[in-house]
């Protein structure tokens, strides 16, 4: 890849029926990169894609392609591919007709189109499906046809709106892998919208978390998982032990929680003050029981239930005042067992509420 293309979205604002839907969205995505836009349904993810595609217009903000403002460039001249959640395959055309559509619109000759259709079908493992009717295809096959159709005209940018949401679990895992390969092989900058964090981790080079019309946090998956900036992000990423508390000391940083006073680490930009409310995020559930009766970051818990998970036991516990905590333990605990664990300061992240 010699040339690097870049899409920039700057400060997009959009209202929906009088209330703000997108409130100052900015993001960018480059050649060879997949940006996963992660958010609950109704968070405006799809609307953002439609604004980038030019199907809808934003009240404010800009969409820039290699620095050039796309305002006034009609949908069909942007060359941004968009794949809808339920694929929107043309029912009046067969598989070939669907894939050829974008190529025909570019005015290619029949020979060129035929060649490209064959390539596209091969790329999504559907060789020989050209004359099938799209209504006869299974969900997974439809998804592949939609992908082939979106990629065939070599779009400058590819946007995928929950492309796996309509599929069942097993198929989703398989297609997720295929999709990852196809996206990375093509090198086309891609925006991938999903509400599933596993999918986002599997596919995204970078993640952007959308909540209530704003991007709450963005970065590589590692950055997000190691430094969630608040409890919402942590909860959304699936972290389970979020302990509410209050700052006791700043040096060393100590938070008082239902499980006692815990020494924590924190990002410098978190503005923690003594006495202010904070949440302690346990970045890891892995823990070992200890016989020690006292010491720093020692938490005493009562086991409720332990579920065998192969290499560990997922163990549900509660503290003295009844707050629950989930841990991954090596040994199986019995209901009612009193255990003690020591939590490393590095895995406890304090964030302001």
């Amino acid at each position: 890849m010699t040339k690097t293309d870049k899409l920039q979205v700057v400060n997009i604002e959009k209202e929906y029926e009088g209330s703000p839907l997108l409130r100052g969205i900015s993001l960018e995505v480059k050649t060879g990169e997949v940006l996963c836009l992660l958010g609950r349904s109704g968070s405006g993810k799809s609307t953002l894609l439609r604004i980038i595609a030019g199907i809808e217009t934003a009240e404010q903000g800009q969409v820039l392609w290699n620095g050039e403002n796309m305002r006034g460039v009609p949908v069909h001249l942007r060359r941004f591919g968009l794949m809808f959640q339920d694929y929107a395959l043309f029912p009046h055309l067969d598989v070939r007709g669907n894939i050829a559509f974008g190529l025909r619109m570019q005015g290619m000759t029949k020979e060129e189109i035929d060649g490209k259709v064959v390539d596209a079908l091969q790329r999504v493992n559907l060789s020989g499906f050209g004359t099938r009717r799209v209504t006869d295809l299974s969900g997974g096959e439809q998804q592949r046809v939609a992908l082939a159709r979106a990629l065939a005209p070599s779009p400058h940018l590819l946007m995928l709106d929950e492309p796996l949401a309509a599929l069942d679990r097993a198929l989703r895992a398989q297609l997720q892998e295929e999709l990852r390969q196809v996206l990375h092989e093509s090198g086309i900058p891609a925006i991938y919208v999903t509400h599933d964090q596993d999918e986002a981790l599997a596919l995204g080079d970078r993640l952007a978390l959308l909540n209530e019309g704003k991007i709450v946090q963005s970065g590589t998956p590692e950055e997000l998982y190691r430094q969630p900036i608040n409890a919402w992000v942590a909860g959304f990423l699936g972290m389970e032990n979020l302990l509410p508390g209050r700052v006791v000391r700043l040096d060393p940083l100590t938070i008082s929680t239902a499980f006692g006073e815990l020494a924590c680490s924190a990002a410098p930009e978190q503005r923690l003050r003594v006495g202010s409310a904070a949440t302690v995020i346990m970045l890891s559930l892995d823990a070992e029981t200890t016989e020690a009766k006292s010491g720093a970051n020692l938490v005493r818990l009562t086991v409720e239930e332990a579920i065998f998970k192969g290499d560990h036991y997922r163990t549900f516990t509660h503290g003295a005042s009844g707050e629950s905590m989930v841990l991954n333990l090596k040994e199986k605990g019995q209901r009612g067992d009193e255990i003690g664990i020591r939590i490393a300061k590095e895995t406890l992240l304090a964030v302001t509420n």
Binding site: H76, F84, D86
Partner: protein, 561 residues
């Protein structure tokens, strides 16, 4: 043990069927057979030489091409209107939507009267222009012209395109078009390559239906076209009423029947079992507000056209009926046209005052309501019981709709020639003919309601100790009240406005309102014309009331065509 009953009408299946089937046999199939016999007679007499078939070819050809032309014009207005209705939110849309139901219920004679009140030789536009530019003759010629016929046809049928194509368009997933755009199609290409192909079935269905209605058009051609234009329907009428050539009329009727059955059959193939809503359900999830100037202009233009076409003639009708053209060429407000309706003027065409025609119409309409409701209810019950035969029975009931009104009239005329069922002495033949047409509507309104009554409800009533009659009174009857009322209103307005069959059957001294209107409009003299307009206005008001009631009774009302 209590035997579970499928439908709770307390009579046997065969008995339920007996009455409606006997009615159909006597008043539909028998006349049809007579017409066939007459047609065979004509064919046998003249042979099948092409020259002798000229009286058939000429009207057939004219019928076909005027229907084709009308259909094209209707689509030209209807398609953009369907787009606007399916995609935009704008003020007055609901009112416009209700107004578009008007042609479904408005008698053809009233529509023609409305157009003459606007565009005719003594219409508001001509009189206004004559006064303005000091002209001696009417500058606009509407009567006896082809464009007049086409205009009224477009008036009647645009609403069908609006309904059929409009609701399909509103329900068409926008993402198809958007996908096309994203794949590089310009708006025009997306329309041509994706939207129109996806809408093709509904466009075809609408076009066929419009073609069918234009093909069987009678009153419009007769009244607007005058002596120069004869469709098959008009030719049948002329051969019967003026030339008394019943064999040729029979032959024409058979040709007409074959054509309409073929068109209906194709329509059924294309359309499946889709019904057409009385009030179009043109709600899409993504109705847009008008934004750009271009959008506003387009929607304004389309709506202005629709309102002009649908409302202006009706307004002109009401206004013109309250004006009197003096000898000096000046129009003055006057209620004379209405007061004169009750006067038996000596130079009147009829022996009774026009108010008498209204009484006749009212009487026939009430008999039609009674007949079609009783027979329709029996048939609907029979059908809900015999689920397996439902399709066949439904087809039998609907068959009279495939025959044109003129064919029905002709059939009655040639069949019922002897007492007691004698056209000239048994006036009830008129409401009987109306009932043949009204019954399918009644059945269609009742059937969903009947099918919706759960068997368990009746069983519960039975378990609670209700006899079959009591069950019917307490379970079925309350649930059927509303569809019965809807069916009744349909039958009433249908009978009130029916012209095609009635014009064959009504005796000169007992005309119905439409027959009287048609004759008065064709007669010279300001008073005659004014009275035709006054009667038309009364019919218009009754139809407006019917629409109001229907909308109240059945917000998602379905009428089948």
């Amino acid at each position: 043990m209590i035997r579970p009953r499928k439908a709770g009408f307390p009579t046997g299946n065969a008995l339920l069927w007996l009455l409606p089937l006997a009615f159909l046999a006597l008043f539909f199939f028998l006349p049809l057979g007579k017409i066939l016999a007459f047609a065979a007679m004509s064919a046998a007499k003249n042979g099948f030489a092409l020259t002798s078939l000229a009286p058939v070819w000429r009207p057939l050809w004219f019928t076909t091409w005027q229907a084709g032309l009308s259909t094209v014009l209707t689509l030209l207005l209807g398609m953009p209107a369907a787009y606007v209705f399916a995609h935009y939110r704008f003020r007055g849309k609901n009112l416009l939507r209700v107004l578009t139901t008007l042609p479904f219920i408005l008698p053809t004679v009233v529509a023609v009267a409305g157009f003459t009140a606007l565009l005719g030789p003594h219409g508001l536009l001509n009189l206004g222009l004559m006064r303005l530019f000091q002209l001696n003759t009417a500058p606009i010629t509407f009567m006896n012209t082809l464009w007049g016929i086409l205009l009224v046809h477009v008036f009647y049928n645009t609403t069908i395109v609006l309904r059929v194509v409009g609701s399909a368009w509103a329900q068409l997933d926008e993402r198809w078009e958007q996908t096309a755009r994203v794949l590089g199609a310009s708006p025009r290409q997306a329309l041509r390559e994706v939207t129109l192909p996806l809408l093709r079935p509904s466009i075809l269905a609408a076009a066929l239906l419009v073609f069918l209605f234009d093909f069987t058009s009678f009153a419009v051609i007769l009244m607007v076209g005058g002596p120069y234009f004869a469709t098959l329907e008009v030719a049948i009428y002329q051969q019967t009423m003026s030339l008394f050539n019943l064999p040729l009329a029979g032959l024409l009727a058979v040709v007409q029947l074959v054509c309409t059955f073929v068109i209906t059959w194709i329509y059924g193939k294309v359309n499946g079992r889709r019904n057409i809503p009385l009030l179009p359900k043109l709600t899409s999830e993504t109705l847009r507000n008008l934004r750009s100037f271009g959008e506003r202009l387009a929607v304004f233009g389309i709506n202005t056209l629709l309102i002009t076409l649908l409302v202006l003639p009706m307004l002109a009708l009401a206004a013109r009926s309250l004006l009197n053209l003096g000898a000096d060429g000046v129009m003055r407000f006057s209620t004379q046209n209405y007061t004169q309706l009750f006067v038996n003027s000596s130079n009147s065409y009829f022996y009774v005052p026009p108010a008498g025609a209204a009484l006749n119409s009212l009487f026939y309409a009430l008999v039609t309501v009674l007949l079609s409701l009783v027979l329709g209810t029996l048939a609907a019950y029979a059908m809900s019981r015999a689920r397996r035969l439902q399709g066949l029975l439904s087809a039998l009931i609907t068959l009279p709709l495939g025959a044109s009104a003129v064919t029905l009239g002709l059939g009655f005329l040639v069949t019922f020639t002897r007492a007691p069922l004698d056209v000239s002495h048994f006036p009830l033949l008129i409401p009987i003919a109306h009932s043949l047409v009204a019954m399918p509507f009644v059945v269609r309104t009742l059937q969903p309601a009947l099918n919706a009554i759960p068997v368990s409800l009746r069983q519960a009533a039975g378990v609670l100790g209700a006899s079959s009659m009591k069950t019917w009174r307490n379970v079925d009857a309350p649930l059927l009240r509303r569809p019965l009322l809807v069916g009744g209103i349909f039958a009433f307005t249908l009978s009130l406005g029916e012209f095609g069959a009635t014009t064959f059957l009504a005796r000169p001294e007992t005309p119905t309102l439409p027959v009287a209107i048609a004759r008065y409009i064709g007669m010279p003299g300001e008073l005659n014309y004014g009275q035709a307009l006054a009667m038309s206005t009364i019919l218009l008001l009754i139809c407006g009331l019917a629409i109001f009631l229907l909308e109240r009774l059945q917000p998602a009302g379905m009428t089948e065509i």
